[in-house]
């Protein structure tokens, strides 16, 4: 019987010939990524760990430390990496949001298993990895033992057709899927089809990242020429891609015509069956516009925002916040002039952090405010007050809306 991409990957990692939905498998974890929050909230230094070469520590959620509690976590992280000889340590200054740092450093490898203490770890599926967010206690256990268990989930395959238009982003693709098909709780998602070749890597990562929002377990893309080149550029070699068998059995197969998509926006609360094409939304005034996070703080996101903002001005009464996803993205965006364009238009550039996306620091929203965000989540209260409304859209839509002052189709602003 044929297996899906993820079934093939997990079967191989578990050392068994065949798996099917419902099976429990034990797998070795190839990369265990820990983040700053783990050290600030529940850190006990272990007596021994499995393998320091398979561990990375990334400072991202609360850096530079906004609270004393976070400040107390930093030294614990630094002591831990020093004591155990962990070389993959991304401290403040060479830091970034963990999923961006994972991508930049080739830590998510095709056909391999990556675990990390953040729910958007599923982002690594853009690189054909079995990447999944696990709780701090479980990641700690993987740190110690090098292994964990998974239950094989049924897979939904998205067959992408057509070409992605240049003004449509991965965010729009995802918001369309979430609005049309709803939650994928306890399911894996697989993306493929002839249209995939037209989807850039940054958009694939946006899509994979956001699959956490429809509650998926794993979301994976196959290895094609575009991904192979991306990996070569980052020094990733000698991997075994996970592929789907031609006769794989799926829970469902859904076709998405990329050429037919238009900019989407999700209304407050959830992305699941809660969206609308931007062209059809009522006039909605905004107070804060945010572009950032693991999903949309990538260099290409900043390029798109800068291109729309260049020579224009953020509307009075709107705060535009832009958070590069990593220090590397920040430096490159500065070198290329994107940050200058954004700041000249009236935008505020913050340091790289998870900050505003999770309502912890760097742009918390107040009661009665409306935020339009190109980040990961639009739960009630996610970015601050439970009386704030959080709409979600692409970086292009957010940048265009920051100029007009209300939620706007970027195709109308840039032409």
């Amino acid at each position: 019987m044929g297996m899906t991409m993820m079934e093939n990957l997990l079967a191989r990692k578990a050392g068994v010939a065949q798996v099917k939905p419902g099976d429990l498998v034990t797998v070795e974890v190839d990369m265990c990524v820990m983040i700053d929050l783990q050290f600030a909230t529940m850190w006990i230094q272990p007596s021994r760990i499995h393998n320091p070469d398979k561990v990375a520590v990334i400072m991202d959620h609360a850096v530079p430390a906004p609270t004393l509690k976070d400040a107390e976590g930093g030294p614990k992280a630094r002591k831990f990496v020093a004591d155990f000889g962990i070389e993959k340590f991304y401290d403040v200054g060479r830091h970034g949001i963990c999923h961006q740092v994972i991508a930049e450093n080739g830590l998510a490898r095709p056909g391999e298993v990556l675990a990390c203490t953040d729910s958007h770890t599923i982002a690594g599926g853009a690189y054909n990895a079995a990447a999944r967010g696990l709780g701090p206690a479980e990641v700690y256990s993987i740190l110690c033992t090098g292994a964990t268990w998974f239950q094989i989930a049924p897979t939904v395959r998205y067959e992408l057709t057509g070409e992605l238009p240049p003004e449509i982003s991965g965010k729009d693709v995802f918001l369309y899927i979430a609005n049309t098909y709803g939650d994928a709780t306890n399911q894996d998602i697989e993306f493929g089809g002839a249209g995939l070749a037209s989807v850039p890597l940054n958009d694939r990562r946006t899509i994979a990242t956001q699959c956490a929002e429809i509650s998926a377990d794993f979301a994976t893309f196959g290895v094609d020429e575009r991904l192979a080149q991306f990996l070569t550029d980052r020094g990733v070699h000698d991997y075994t891609p996970a592929e789907a068998d031609p006769d794989a059995e799926y829970h469902d197969v859904r076709t998405v015509d990329l050429a037919a998509l238009e900019p989407y926006v999700a209304r407050p609360g959830t992305v699941s069956r809660n969206g609308v094409p931007v062209s059809q939304i009522e006039q909605k005034k905004i107070d804060q516009a945010f572009i950032g996070s693991c999903a949309n703080g990538q260099l290409e996101d900043l390029r798109v925002a800068a291109a729309i903002l260049r020579g224009r001005t953020v509307a009075r009464g709107v705060r535009l916040l832009v958070t590069p996803a990593s220090q590397q993205v920040y430096r490159e965006a500065m070198r290329l002039g994107y940050l200058q364009d954004i700041a000249d238009a009236g935008g505020v550039i913050t340091n790289s952090t998870c900050g505003a996306c999770f309502g912890y620091h760097m742009g918390v929203v107040g009661p009665g405010e409306v935020c339009l965000t190109a980040s990961t989540r639009n739960f009630t209260g996610r970015m601050g007050s439970t009386e704030a409304q959080i709409y979600m859209a692409s970086p292009a839509t957010v940048a265009a809306s920051a100029i007009t002052g209300y939620i706007s189709d970027p195709r109308g602003v840039t032409t």
Binding site: L24, L37, T41, M42, W43, I44, Q45, P46, S47, R48, I49, T67, K69, P75, K76, K79, D83, F84, T117, D118, S119, R132, G133, L134, G135, P136, A137, E138, Y140, S141, C144, T145, W149, Q151, A153, D183, T185, N186, E213, S215, D217, T270, S272, F358, G359, Y360, R377, F379, T380, G381, R382, G384, T386
Partner: protein
């Protein structure tokens, strides 16, 4: 390990997300303080009324969202188990890894009202509303999960196997997270 959990139930709806149970502002607090904000917007004052041994029942897609350790807050409040029509898998794993029994029981929200007494056997999957007499059956938890629960959670199991200082075993089994233990190895 006692695999039968009996207690008063609290009924919640579908797609209750992690931010509704563990908001960002509470992440700046220690666990005992943070636990006072569970369901802060959804059901204000709930943490004053929940009692040790109570059971939380929710609908579909329970716990969608963040990896933040919500189960530690439930354990601090004394919640004995989480039952749901359907769990987000990360949230489910977080619960059992924290030593908090979690059972997927399709149809369960139809059988209970707030305040009823429920009886759940996580090893057989059988459950019963002791107030109304209605009963149902869920898939029992597999041995790998029962083993983690029997250990008192994954950190306690690690302490038992020598990965963490053994003197922390009892406090880890209790579900508490030891503070100021940054020295270690």
């Amino acid at each position: 390990m006692n695999t039968v959990i009996t207690g008063r139930v609290w009924l919640f709806g579908d797609s209750i997300n992690t931010d509704a149970m563990y908001p960002a502002f509470a992440m700046k607090l220690d666990i005992p303080e943070a636990s006072k904000h569970v369901f802060y917007e959804l059901r204000p004052g709930w943490t004053d009324r929940v009692e040790p041994g109570d059971i939380v029942i929710a609908g579909r897609n329970f716990g969608v969202g963040s990896s933040r350790p919500v189960a530690a807050l439930f354990r601090h409040l004394g919640v004995a188990a989480l039952i749901a029509e359907e769990f987000n898998s990360l949230f489910f794993r977080n619960a059992v890894n924290a030593g908090l029994p979690a059972l997927t029981a399709p149809g369960v929200t139809e059988l209970f009202s707030d305040g009823d007494r429920g009886r759940f056997d996580i090893a057989t999957g059988e459950y019963r509303n002791e107030t109304t007499g209605l009963s149902g059956e869920a898939q029992p938890l597999p041995p790998v999960i029962l083993d983690i629960l029997a250990s008192g959670g994954i950190l306690a199991r690690l302490a038992g196997r020598g990965y963490l200082p053994i003197e922390l075993l009892d406090v880890l089994r209790s579900g508490a997270i030891p503070q100021d233990t940054g020295s270690g190895a």
